[in-house]
Symmetry: C2
Subunit: 162 residues, 2 copies
DNA sequence: CAAAGTGCATAAAAGATTCATATAAAATAG
DNA sequence: CTATTTTATATGAATCTTTTATGCACTTTG
């Protein structure tokens, strides 16, 4: 009975489960650094040196905010700024060894936390998740590209206090 | 060949996939309200009226921060404060209809975003995820209870800028 | 009833983020 | 080749969030 078509509302049920998982994860994130800083370091780790404006767009903050953020991370020794010889207006931000180490440590902690949760599941459940692994990885890929919206409203306006 | 034991490193691989999914999700969160505010509203929606100190502990912020937060949300009409007749020191915070509506809307948007991603998967992948649904729900439950740590360090110290 | 404890609010200070604007360099028009 | 426009970043003022320290009101205990 394999390969039957999925139930029509499977995406909704799966979306609900994944959303719940994600929102709970947010509460357990380490708070020793801002989410924006951590995300910026992760971006640098994945893509290599980037310019300030690039990073600001990638993380969804304004350019001045990214300038300040990078200054702080530079003072902490996590990143370095170098000029771009081909265009002396730009500031290239790259990860230091300490920054790369921080990213690895933090990522490992997050992965381990999930791995420990998985170990609390039954064998059947772990097996089901292992079978769904390609789907999860594909989802992550789709999620990455989903950020490339057709450009329009740069960001919804704030509604209340932050 | 069903029900073979999972590979020994399945938890690590699954943990890695879920962590990637969660971190990408953080970037796509709406920024119209602080994470703390949104989480507080969600908590109120799930558990009903709570006192200020409860909420502060639940969200991992200090009590004065929660007081200010609640004041802001009250001014926005999302919550109401009522006194507790049995102990007149306490302030009970409860969701207004507008607050409940906001929580539902935001949650629905998150679920829909994931559901749309799921629709970009192949039928096989959706089927695999649907089969893993009980595991995902169980994980979410484990993740909830994981927050109940044995009490100790209330929060790691900040390391750099926020 | 007095002393100690609990729950919340306020004040002051520090950080982070935003918009607006300024400066510097590069690209382009004439 | 010079002037103008565009692009990349930095800076300043304002706002928002959170923290620590503190005070007040109420409750509980002896």
């Amino acid at each position: 009975m394999s390969h039957q078509d999925p139930a029509p509302d499977a995406p909704a049920a799966i979306g609900s489960a994944l959303y719940g998982l994600a929102t709970r994860a947010v509460r357990r994130l380490p708070r020793d650094m801002s989410l924006t800083s951590a995300a910026t370091l992760a971006t640098l780790d994945k893509t290599g040196p980037r310019r300030i404006t690039d990073l600001a767009a990638a993380e969804g903050v304004t350019q001045p905010a990214m300038t300040v953020l990078v200054r702080g991370m530079e003072e902490s020794g996590l990143v370095e700024r170098t000029g771009d010889p081909s265009d002396r207006r730009v500031t290239l931000v790259c990860l230091t060894e300490a920054g790369a180490s921080y990213v690895r440590t933090r990522r490992q902690a997050g992965v381990d936390a999930y791995a420990r949760l998985v170990e609390g599941l039954t064998d059947d459940e772990v097996e089901a998740l292992a079978a769904a692994l390609p789907a999860l990885l594909h989802l992550a890929e789709l999620e990455s590209h989903a950020g490339a919206e057709p450009e329009q409203s740069p960001r919804p306006k704030r509604r209340t206090s932050r």
